[in-house]
Structure formats: C-alpha cells, structure tokens
Symmetry: C2
Subunit: 422 residues, 2 copies
C-alpha cells in the first residue's frame, strides 16, 4: 500500500476542530449582531464569469485570480492564442464585486435601502507565507441605496458592537474621506492625473515614514513645493472637531468635511469621545472608493481588523443607473488569530461526555440508551468502543476536549475529569 501526498494544495490549509469551533462561534456572534442591526444574510457563488472579475474594479487583486479552464467543446487548445482563450470563469477574490452583480440582478426583489451581510471564502493566488493563505474568509456588511451618512454610521456602530461582543471593546476607528484627499492634493497643486500615484505612496506612510513618502513623491516628479506643502497640510490636520475650518482652507474640501462632520456628530455620543479619529493619510487601496473611508484597529494588532468605505460608482456600472453604496469588511482570519492569542474559547453550554461501549461483540442497545439518556440531560455525548487500556483511553479523551465519561452500566454516574477523585 503506497503512501500518497496528503498535504493540502499549495497555499491552502485544513482547519482542525478546535479552531473551527472558535470560527463558528465568532461567525455566529458577528452574524447575530449584524442581524440585530437589520442586515440580511445573502449568498453568492464562489465562481464568477471571468469578465465580471476582470473589469478593473478589483485593482491588483485581478492579477491574483484562480482561473477555471473551459470545459467540453468550448476548450479548443489547438486554436488557443493565450490564457484568455482557455478560461471562462474564476474564483471570486472579494465579496464586493459579487455583491454589486447580485444587487444588479435582484434589486427588484430587495428592500430599499438593502442591508446585506456576506460571510464566505475568497481566493487569491498570492505567494504563500506564514499565516497567509490562498483561501480566506471575509465578513462584509454593505448598505446599498443610501446616500446619507446614516449608512456609514450604521456600518461603524454595528461592526464596533460585533467586535465588542467578541471581547474586543477597545477599538479605534480612523476615518478619512476620498474627497478630502483630493482637496489636499489640489491644494498642493498636484495635477489630477498624479492623484492616484500620490495616494498609493501616501498609503505606505506607516511602513516607510514621511521621509520615505517624500523621497518617493520627488522620484515621481512632484516638485519640492507641492511635497513641502503636503507635509505642512498633513501636520496641520486637526481633530474631527476642527474639520470644517481646516477644509475651508483647501480647494474643494467642503463635501468631504461635511460628511466627516456628520459622522463625527452622530457617533460621538454612541461610540465614546476618543474612539473616532480623523486620519488625513488614510487611503485604503481599492480605487473604487468615492467618499468616507474608515478602518478599525484594536489593541494587540499592528494592522487594522476591519475596513471599508463608500463606493458610489461601482453598482451603476452594472445596473445602468447610479446607486450609492457603502461597505465594511472584517478581516476574519486576523480576528481569529487575535482571539486565539487572547485565549478566547467559545462558551459551550453542553459538556462533552464519552460513553464507553463495552466491546465490539456486545449488544449495542444498552449503550445507545445510556447515550440518549445523557443527551436528554443536555450533554453532548459520543459513543465510543471501550479499549482494554482504559486509563490510556481516558487520557486521550481528556486531551481531545472531552469533559467526562460514563459506562453502559446505568447505575454508575458520569465521571468528570475536572472533579477530584472521591
């Protein structure tokens, strides 16, 4: 009997029972919290048409698509000029692109505004590295069809509450607005066509520092004047209380400042004074954002645990008319890592008991009855065949999370491992 390769595919991973229990628990808490805010859980397929994944909305993620080979007659290898002739579908790389398609296809059957929850795997063919996998879970909420800051406010409150229910009650929400970024760029005389590369560089601030940013911007051909002015403006950036007068000094910052002000006003009492912070350098990678953008950080993680923003243009592209939209995504894998580090264990009401069936030749009925009776009492009960070396078997059971054991002899009590021997 040969031994075959049992490892998962490159960059993929199996999840062992203890982690799945934690994942199930966290997912249930998040789902229930979001449902308590009136969001509705939806599902989209893992596989999308390749055109829908390569429209440019996905940015760099479009380079990381797992592509699916055409099947049957559609696959014509001899005539294929390149990769594009071989594939017709791919695995989704996020939950936002499928959501936009979902809304465009089903908006007539959905409430207005539509508040959606999605939890599910996405796939990116990144270079595998420690702690990063090619399949990972995202957990998104989105409000579609709401222009006002009520959407941003609701997304932030619901996510902060979900994190608090998981014991992460010390969040900081950093917020910015794409229109403020544009206003700052214009105020520094950065030409519009250079805004994207400016923002990409600014996004690296926490990694390369202001010196690194300045160096990169000069290399990109921005003059010394604009770069100095940028540094000056960022240094002057006020707290949210002072956002309106700050914007007055910029070219066209009014709309962004008004949005930030409204969110600040709405959240200051609900969230606590210092929880919401203006970060004039927050960019967020995706090009589709059009208004407020925000991230949540918690103690113990060097990067944000959730992020999102307004993307008013994306759905219109599919639907043929403008539809405002705003979303927030929890980095589920980061969350699980953090909860594991903090030693969070899902509270289980029911203890796990092993009922030891005497031996393979014995009548099963008394063992089944014993297991059923203990289950009736509210325990989780696994029926297993007793081994000759009972001590060793009990050690194993305890190591694998069992709380106690019982025999088929109905008169003997359940013995719990955490009770001192009488």
């Amino acid at each position: 009997m040969g031994k075959a390769n049992a490892a998962p595919a490159r960059g993929m991973r199996d999840v062992l029972p203890a982690e799945v229990a934690l994942r199930d628990y966290a997912q249930r808490v998040i789902l229930e919290t979001y449902e308590s805010f009136g969001y509705a859980h939806i599902e989209t397929p893992a596989v999308e048409r390749i055109e829908n994944l390569t429209s440019g909305q996905g940015g760099d993620n479009e380079k990381l698509i797992f592509k699916i080979l055409k099947r049957g007659e559609k696959l014509d290898l001899a005539a294929a000029q390149g990769e594009a002739d071989l594939v017709d579908q791919g695995l989704r790389f996020d939950l936002t692109v499928p959501l936009a398609r979902y809304y465009a296809a089903h908006h007539a059957e959905l409430p207005q505004p539509f508040k959606a929850i999605q939890v599910g795997p996405v796939w990116r063919a990144e270079r595998p590295q420690k702690g990063r996998y090619r399949q990972f879970t995202q957990c998104d909420i989105d409000v579609i069809g709401e222009h006002g800051e009520i959407a941003e406010t609701d997304l932030i409150l619901a996510t902060v509450e979900a994190l608090a229910k998981l014991g992460l009650s010390d969040p900081t929400v950093r917020i910015n607005d794409r229109r403020m970024l544009v206003a700052i760029a214009r105020s520094c005389d950065v030409p519009d066509e250079s805004h994207d590369s400016l923002f990409i560089t600014l996004d690296k601030l926490d990694k390369i520092g202001m010196d690194g940013v300045r160096k990169e911007l000069l290399e990109q051909g921005l003059g010394d004047g604009p770069v100095s002015r940028l540094e000056e403006l960022l240094a002057q950036a006020p707290s949210l209380d002072g956002i309106a007068p700050f914007a007055d000094g910029l070219v066209g910052g009014d709309d962004g400042a008004r949005s930030l002000g409204a969110i600040h006003e709405a959240l200051s009492s609900a969230l606590g004074a210092d929880r919401l912070v203006y970060d004039p350098t927050l960019v967020r990678g995706m090009g589709y954002y059009t208004g407020p953008i925000f991230e949540v950080a918690v103690e113990g993680l060097p990067y944000s645990i959730a992020g999102g923003g307004r993307y008013d243009g994306m759905i219109g592209r599919l639907l043929g008319r403008d539809v405002p939209a705003c979303g927030f995504s929890i980095g589920f894998e980061r969350l699980i890592m953090l909860l594991e580090e903090r030693g969070l264990r899902p509270g289980r009401a029911a203890r796990l008991i092993a009922v030891l069936h005497p031996g393979q030749e014995d009548d099963l009925s008394p063992s089944l009855a014993r297991a059923a009776a203990l289950r009736e009492q509210g325990h989780r009960v696994a029926l297993v065949t007793g081994r000759k070396k009972r001590g060793k078997q009990l050690d194993e059971l305890q190591r694998h999370g069992f709380d106690g054991w019982a025999t088929t002899d109905g008169t003997a009590d359940v013995r719990f491992f955490d009770e001192a021997d009488a």
Copy 2:
C-alpha cells in the same frame, strides 16, 4: 452608462435573504444535533491538488471537475500537449475525498475514533437544469477508525434525529450491504469481473423496473439462467428479521448479514420497528463502499434525502495502512427544497423593526439612540431614512419581512403591522 451582464456564471446561483435565513437555520439545527452526538466540525479547502481529485475514487464525478489553470511560470501554453499540462488544481466534487486526505494529514492530532462533521459547497460541471446547480452544499458526518457497527448505528441515529428536529419525523431507512450484493451475484453464478456492471444496472431498478434491468443484463451477456436466478433471489429477500437464514443460502453472505443483523438489533428499539428496511437492490453509485450502505427517505420526496455507507479502503490508500471509515451525507439542497415546500420558517426570537430617521439633513443622534434602545429590548432594528410617502414605505417594509416600525420621537410606541389599528 452601459448595462453589463449581471447574471451569475452558468449553472451557478445567488441565494436571496429568505432562503439564506432558512439555510442558516437548517444548518444550525443539523450542526447542533451532530455536535450533541460528539461529532466535531472541520473545514477543508475548496481547492485540491488535481491528482487527489482524479485518483479514480470519485467515479463519474471525476469527469465533472472544475479545473484550475496553472499560474505564472508553471503555465507553458506553447509546450502544452493537452489539458493535463494546463491544470494543477481543481474544485472538490464531494467532501469525502478531502476528508480522507485531511485524516491522512492530521490523524496524529485527532481523537481515535474521529467523528467529523463537514458542511460546505462542492462543485460539479453538470449540464445545468431546473433546480440543479453546479455549486451545491453537502452536509456530511463520518466516523473514522471504527470497525464495528457502532459507527453505522451512530451515523443513522444522529441523522434521523437531525431530520426530526427539522420536522421530518417520518423517515424510512433502507439498508443493504455491499457484501450481500456480492454474495447474491456469486450465488447467481455472475463472474466477479461482471459484478460492477451488474450493480450499476441494478441501481437503476427504480427508474427502469425489473423488466428494464433484465433486458440490460441480457444485453451485457449475462445468461438467462443467472438473470432468472437473480430475480428469484431478490423476490425471496426477507425482512431484516430473516436476514441470517437468507444469507445461509447464499455464497459467502455471512459477514454482510451479520453486520445488517447487528445494526437491525441495535436500532429496532431506538428507531422504531418499521423504520429500518432491508433493500437487497440498494447499490449506491460510488465504487468505494465496502460494507453496509444506507439511505433515508421521507414523505414528499421521490428520492432519498441522505445516503452513506462504509468505505474501509479509501483512507488506507493515502495513509499507507488500513483505516476503517463510514459516512453519511445529507442532500442539503433537497432538504431545503422540501422544507420550503412544507412552509417551514426559521423561528426568530427577535422581531424586525424599522426606525425611520426623519430626513437626511436631520441630526442622526436621536435616531441612533432610539434604535439602540429598541435593540436593548431584544428587537432587531434597522435604521432607515424616512421617505415622504410613508404609506408606500411601510408597505414595502412589511413586504420585505419587517414586523413593525417606529419614529425617532421617543414617546411614540412601536407599531406592529400585525396589530389591528386602535
């Protein structure tokens, strides 16, 4: 603004909120029931190495694999002779092949025996047809490392209980044993090399009738004698009470009959007298079964809603030593269709209330406070902007599952749609 194609990829589908709520509920009930029997939830990735999917264990499903294109330098289109040179991975077509790999990779960290639950999507590129999709959810439990009928008994009891908790309390469990099928074939002088094709034909009995089966077997070259003898034996097949004397008249039926007898004895009191039925023509398609096989049928469905059996050979192929295994799979999509037909709605403790925010220009704080207060009272609360045409908005809310509404004016009560106007 052009309108793009918003339909899902061919054969895939989106799931609307009402169905997702039902799916979440059914999945939670099944998961909790299986956990109460001591099964542990695990996760395997959607993507497997192509070698692991094409080892022959998957039968016809191996023809339906969604194959994933190689990436980067590994893809050499010019040198590719055929499909095999282009792909290195594929989407799993069932949960059993990944489970076998999972166990082989992680057995040292798992309890013995290992009782696993899996719930997740699988993909098969079948011709799309009404009600059948290319991505669908399977819900499996497996016992790995247990030779005795304690495994089959446990799988059947747990599954019957899970279905009963979903209101399907009228199940019939049909059971057979691959070794009984072999004994019957040998007793009819069917040569061993013709067993597989005999079983494939027998599996169609409910579709083509005994006349059709006879015709096909004769066409396959089985003589009139063996075919008549087969009909005779099947007609003589007893109830489970008489399985031992029936097997005495066969060539080598003892092991199969002993297993069926033990399962019958164990389940007759736990399950109710007529719930477990010997079906000598039950085959089940997959070639990997080695012992007892079983299916559950419920009223209102013309096909089985769950099926499984013992497959003692599969894991050994990967692990390099024999490991007994036995599994049961609920057809989750069929289950959901049946629950929808029966009008089952997930019971929700919390009612869904809309809080109408006066208008986009108004201060959000009172609306947030009102929503939070109602949430504190145990409601699910969606904060939405009130529209000028309130009557129309309330109609829409009711149509989309809201139970009531409230305004920001703290003194006004929640109005429930199902209460008659005072």
